[in-house]
Amino acid sequence: MFTPSFWRRRRFSESVPEILRLQQEMNRLFSNAGQSASIDYPAINVWEKNGAAVVTAELPGMSIENIDISVTDNVLTISGTKKAHELKEGESYLRQERIPGSFQRNVQLPFRVDSKEVDAKYEKGVLVVTLPRLKEDLPKKIKINVN
């Protein structure tokens, strides 16, 4: 059977990352000319399964107490502080490439999130946040009555 809607949706979701990456690349190219670009840290990947979104971010070397995750309606906020190793007397840096400091990232999702069901894991320096859709907003199956 020919199912146009399904076909279109699949094609779209596969091409979305490409388009967004291209857009980001363009923004980065042009933003360098004028004022400084806003820095999005951490970088995220967004996955989907059964209507729930899964956001992953690479945050190496954090402790759980230093990561804050909050959800309001359809916005996920990841914030935290990356601490630097504090040098004791007699220690000196030869090279410092890992950037310490605090960060905040807001991610807007295309649906309202069931904040009670949000699940977050932090393993091997990778944060995985599962955001299920609010049950009231889930598509409802409508029964057709035959009279």
């Binding site: 979305v16 967004l20 970088a43 990947n45 190496p60 007699g90 840096y93 030869l94 090279r95 490439e97």
Partner: protein
Amino acid sequence: MSEKELQKTENAAAAEKIRNVKTFVPRVDIYETKESIFLIADMPGVDEKTVEVELEKNILTITGWTDEGKLKDHSLLFSEYETGDYERSFTLSDEIDREKINATVKQGVLLLELPKAEKIKPKKIAIKAA
């Protein structure tokens, strides 16, 4: 701080892998104490089973690989970062005591302790008055 500094850098110099994955340069901090040199490398996605530290002659190589960072049965909607292997090499001076190198991995961060060899530790030389 530019945006580029916060993004992963691809290791173009690394030998191409048979597996079709990208290789990244882990960011490192290196600091020195009187006894040792410490190296901290950010390698998100690796654990003690998927990281390797190799010392050949005076070249220290750290490698790590991740399970592609893919979530099972999930479809990727939006992507800002890629996952792959890590590789970076450093040239060590001879002053490292190779036998006592210590490596630990915690939350995707590799910590290497490279103890300085006894003979080069600074020694105070007493000067006698003639």
